[in-house]
Symmetry: C2
Subunit: 334 residues, 2 copies
DNA sequence: TTGTATGCGTTATCAT
DNA sequence: ATGATAACGCATACAA
């Protein structure tokens, strides 16, 4: 009577059923076993309410069916959506997910990677910002939105095409002079390509444009100043603005209203990400939508695909444009 | 040469350092060891890049430092915020969190509880809807927003006080006749108390009120019909509306505008939850704010508090009112 | 087909 | 203080 209240083990089941330990293991794992034995074992399992200990299983198999997700938080709508779909994709495959919110702390990112490896996870999916991340070779890793070297696959939406699409849409909707507002990351990550795509789109449409780029951590007030500088006689020089994220678009929307401008009549506004009210309602603004479910599936697929000898270093998934009230209605298009 | 690429084990470290297995264990766990031995072991650990296998640890200790969180999703802002703070609270205590999004599927809820127990988690925190959930006694459980029996602590905000506060605020802000809009859950959960609190508040202030309650899954169109029925000569009979969630408040806001009404000038609107744009910006509407960080801390505290012999069956945390543009500004108050 | 024995990586109890 | 050894719960190769 070593442990009164502890959960029953295979040994307990074997004793209860009057069979050997190995037999129980076989029944549990669906290996061929005599019918009468099988029945007795199953009865004992039910009686004792036995459940296999997956920690012990993992110890044997050196496989844990667990994947860690490193992400800044689940409070930002984009991150929350991403975490949700990655969770579903993993659970669908009978994998468990360890959530590690880094709270945008680079030191935490490194620490949690170590923690994940101690947990002997089968792989790690990470949306990280630490520029000096050290990834051990022995744990499969998939990065989101940022390349971590050619050996580690990176999954992102097609940010360049998204920027381009934004420019083309603004042009299609009748804009003559547009602006690009961006909070720049010093990191060399995929979302940075939105700028190049936008410029490319403007050039191909001969659309006049200007850009205002501030650094991460700097005050958004600079955008307000920028807008004010381009006001003349109560009118803004721009009739279209592309913001690098929906969050910035929302901020800009409020500023434009405060300046007495109408959106979309005076200025049209396009954001990026595809953020919706309450996760599922309307879009908060007209936006370039990231294919989050597909990105999640791709991350999981790439991570668990053992057979792939050479994994693609960068996968870009297609984006779409969605109307969200801050551009002229589709029916107004030519 | 059994496993070429596998992670190094304690045995490998012992061999490398030329000491016994037990000595390595002591060094790792900070138990007294001779200085020269300690140095050698630490050097070997660094050289081999050794990391303890917490699965094996858990097997021995029958403790895994892992907690499972059952939640419908992380896409809804409230759930995303809650998951984030629970994750932080657990990580702060060196606990790991298994995320199990149920996608509002009752069958999944039960299945994931079983899965969590197989994983030998040290406890489960659950925000669930399955009316017939079976919780094994042997795993500590804390429920959010719904009582699961006197043996299982339930953590929630003070929903009754929140409803009451909403009524009082509307009264303070000058409302004469108000309405309560609610999507009812057939479940006997805590948020249902918002209704009773609101009624109580209206009565204590002698505030005239009416209620429109639809069942979960029914169309929101019924609310639109309700509003239209109470329109007379382009004016609404109500000058204040309390919605059971911010999501419903947002929907109602749009409907009111479509009916040609001004918010907050013609009708003031208060929601519930404290939802913010992008998780951290302004409130989406005037709202009763749930103390999410405190609720998260309380859940974790109650779950891990071994010493408590008798845990409280229900803990209600205080709510606050926040201005969010759909009520008259505070300065307008008397 | 069924039972037995060994090992997975760690901790803890022993002697030494 | 240090080293050997048993045990945690399970899977499996092997013996019966």
């Amino acid at each position: 009577m070593k442990k009164e209240n502890s959960a029953p083990t295979m040994k307990d089941v074997a004793r209860e059923a009057g069979v050997a330990l190995g037999t129980v293991s076989k029944v549990v794992n669906g290996l061929p076993v005599g019918d009468s034995y099988k029945a007795r074992v199953e009865e004992a399992i039910k009686k004792l309410n036995y459940q296999v200990n997956s920690y012990a299983q993992g110890l044997k198999a050196n496989k844990t069916y667990t994947v860690a997700l490193l992400i800044p938080n689940t409070r930002d709508p984009f991150f929350g959506l991403l975490a949700f779909h990655i969770n579903l994709a993993l659970l669908k495959r009978k994998y468990r997910m360890l959530l590690l919110c880094t709270d945008s702390d680079s030191a935490q990112e490194q620490e949690y990677i170590t923690m994940a490896q101690q947990n002997k996870v089968d792989g790690i999916i990470g949306l990280t910002y630490n520029p000096n991340l050290i990834i051990e070779e022995n744990t499969p890793f998939v990065s989101i939105d940022r390349s971590l070297g050619s050996k580690i696959p990176c999954v992102a939406c097609d940010n360049f095409a998204g920027g381009q699409l934004a420019a083309e849409k603004l042009s299609d909707l009748g804009c003559k002079k547009v602006a690009f507002l961006r909070v720049g990351s010093s990191l060399n990550n995929e979302p940075n390509k939105r700028k190049a795509g936008f410029e490319n789109g403007c050039l191909s449409r001969s659309l006049e444009y200007e850009m205002k780029i501030i650094n991460d951590g700097e005050s958004f007030e600079q955008f307000v100043d920028f807008l004010k500088e381009h006001m003349k006689d109560g009118r803004l020089e721009f009739d279209g603005i592309f913001c690098v994220t929906d969050g910035l678009a929302h901020f800009t929307y409020n500023q434009l209203l405060a300046l007495g401008l109408r959106v979309p009549e005076d200025v049209q506004l396009i954001g990026f990400d595809g953020t919706r009210y309450f996760g599922t309602s309307e879009y908060i603004c007209s936006t370039i939508v990231q294919p989050v479910p597909e990105m999640a599936e791709m991350c999981v697929e790439l991570l668990l695909q053992e057979s792939m000898t050479t994994k693609p270093p960068l996968v870009c998934l297609p984006v779409t444009y969605a109307y969200g009230g801050t551009t002229l209605e589709p029916k107004f298009e030519e």
